[in-house]
């Protein structure tokens, strides 16, 4: 559904997006991760034909983003949530969403049905006739998401959809993304939230100007050797800490009654550490895997690219 080949964007001397090659299949949820200024928004803007590419090529739904005649077709195919909601503050939630339904040429019956379905799904139905200017940031964001979906787009671009949202609303948005996937729609979104990416994405890309890695969150995480485990004891004393330090060599840190240990292979190391702790007289209450695999992969890849 989305294909890029050496896609590059330069702003003067700055290369914001550097030769990105990736493919996103129909019905796939793809997450683009990367630090601030990594080029996520710029990539999305190129794919939605808002800014021109400097080099390379890309297609969305088989249409070439570089061809003026194709751009209009791509825009008809996609729904976009930009970085800032950009609503008409004086107009109601319903009017904001309706405008986009009309612009996309959605017939009135289907438009009204979609507006009702989306506003209800996002918990905005009761506020449908309130001017959005009085809404909180998160509520505005939800209106903007409804607006992006009102014409049943085949491809959905969401730029940090859950930024500003409370945990419950974030969960709703994640569910909506999964529902879109179930409908066979393609979702491409930017996020800083690794946990979220792990939960909803079929594959993620990690970008920092260049695309550093693309794979499923699980596979990326499994590549990580360095992980951290927390061992919470009933009571942690100096002797116990010393025993673990002797056994491990290094990478051990004690805080309160919890011991943080860097482990290479949790399956092999964690039981050994528990044994050392028990032998030294410690009583283990919790053992927790701290570094999500994806987070570790992300931190390593982004760190290495400095």
């Amino acid at each position: 559904m989305i294909e890029t080949q050496g896609l590059t964007k330069r702003f003067g001397d700055l290369t914001a997006v550097n030769s990105v090659t990736l493919g996103v299949g129909e019905g796939e949820v793809f997450g683009l991760l990367g630090p601030n200024g990594a080029g996520k928004t710029t990539t999305m803007r190129m794919l939605s034909c808002l800014v021109s590419k400097s080099e390379g090529m890309a297609t969305v739904g088989g249409y070439d983003i570089g061809r003026a005649s194709d751009a209009e077709k791509i825009r008809g195919l996609i729904g976009v949530l930009p970085e800032s909601a950009g609503l008409y503050e004086d107009l109601s939630a319903r009017k904001n969403v309706e405008y986009y339904g009309k612009i996309h040429g959605v017939a009135q019956n289907r438009r009204d049905a979609n507006i009702e379905r989306l506003l209800k799904r996002l918990g905005l139905w009761d506020q449908r006739d309130t001017a959005v200017g009085s809404f909180s940031k998160g509520t505005k964001q939800k209106v903007a998401i409804a607006r992006a979906l009102v014409h049943d787009p085949k491809v959905v671009f969401l730029d940090e959809p859950t930024a500003n949202l409370d945990p419950e609303s974030s969960k709703t948005i994640r569910d909506v993304i999964l529902e879109l996937k179930r409908d066979g729609r393609t979702v491409f979104f930017n996020t800083h939230n690794l946990d979220e990416a792990q939960r909803v994405c079929d594959r993620v890309g990690i970008i920092k100007g260049r695309l550093l890695a693309v794979d499923s969150p699980a596979r990326l995480g499994n590549l990580e050797r360095h992980r951290r485990t927390a061992f919470q004891l009933e009571r942690l004393d100096g002797d116990t800490v010393a025993a673990v330090k002797r056994a491990r060599g290094g990478g051990v840190e004690a805080r309160g009654d919890t011991l943080y240990v860097d482990v290479e292979d949790p399956l092999r190391d964690n039981p050994e550490i528990v044994q050392v702790l028990t032998k030294a007289g410690g009583r283990v209450v919790y053992v927790t895997d701290l570094s999500s695999g994806l987070e570790a992969a992300y931190l390593r890849l982004v760190g290495e690219s400095r």
């Binding site: 803007r45 808002l50 800014v51 976009v80 800032s84 008409y88 107009l91 612009i103 040429g105």
Partner: protein
């Protein structure tokens, strides 16, 4: 070019304008002050300075020109919002990622500035005609308006001047990113209009049929020129990325 889509854009902009109270006030106040003020001024001239019928007729004829000035001034109030307003609200980025083409957007935003401006001009003209006839009829000896000149102004020159102003203002609005700058630059439309007036007054002495013809032809030519210029200067990417 899908005209229905331009109309959708225009309707939305009209809806947004309708919520900008101060713009609405200016849109009404400007024609109101002129349409009431000028006839009252003539009445005072008759009462206090005992102006002759001929003097009053010359002034009435000259005042009719405000119905070329008004439709050039009013779009400044609205059209400055067209793109600058959307840039400030950040609503331009999602709008530009819809299938609406440059031409559809420009036409829609143009219509949204054109219709209220022309309507306000016509309402002002209605008030002006009634008041002017009431207040000067006794001295002039007949109802001066409506006459052929005013009809030509309202039917031909006013819409052309309005289109000219809308085009200039929409163009400015897409080029600058600050509302005040857009409105101040927008007033520049008065330069050629004022020039026209001076020319008309010096060469033809009055807004005769011939001078109106020249004015209208000139405006029509400007409208066409600006239409192509406007489409040429509209750059989505620039609008989106070259402002902060």
């Amino acid at each position: 070019m899908k005209l229905w889509r331009s109309w959708v854009v225009a309707q939305n902009d009209l809806d947004v304008f309708a919520h900008k109270k101060y713009s609405l006030y200016s849109l009404v106040a400007l024609p109101a002050v002129l349409s009431v003020g000028l006839p009252v001024m003539l009445w005072l001239l008759i009462q206090r300075n005992n102006a002759s019928a001929l003097e009053v007729e010359v002034l009435l004829n000259a005042f009719a020109f405000i119905f070329i000035v008004l439709p050039s001034l009013l779009p400044t109030i609205l059209a400055s919002y067209s793109f600058v307003g959307e840039k400030l609200d950040r609503s331009l980025e999602p709008l530009l990622s819809t299938p609406a083409t440059d031409g559809e957007l420009l036409l829609g935003k143009g219509l949204a500035a054109f219709l209220p401006s022309l309507l306000a001009t016509y309402l002002g003209a209605g008030v002006f005609v009634v008041l002017a006839d009431q207040l000067t009829g006794a001295r002039v000896g007949f109802a001066y308006f409506p006459n052929a000149e005013l009809e030509a102004i309202l039917m031909v020159a006013a819409p052309l001047a309005c289109i000219f102003s809308v085009e200039v203002n929409v163009m400015i609005s897409s080029l600058v990113s600050d509302l005040r700058a857009a409105q101040q630059l927008g007033v520049l439309v008065l330069v050629p209009i004022g020039g026209l007036y001076v020319l008309a007054e010096t060469n033809f002495l009055s807004l005769s049929g011939v001078s109106l013809l020249v004015v209208s032809a000139f405006l029509a030519a400007l409208d066409l020129l600006l239409f192509f210029l406007g489409r040429g200067t509209f750059r989505r990417e620039k609008i989106l990325t070259e402002w902060k």
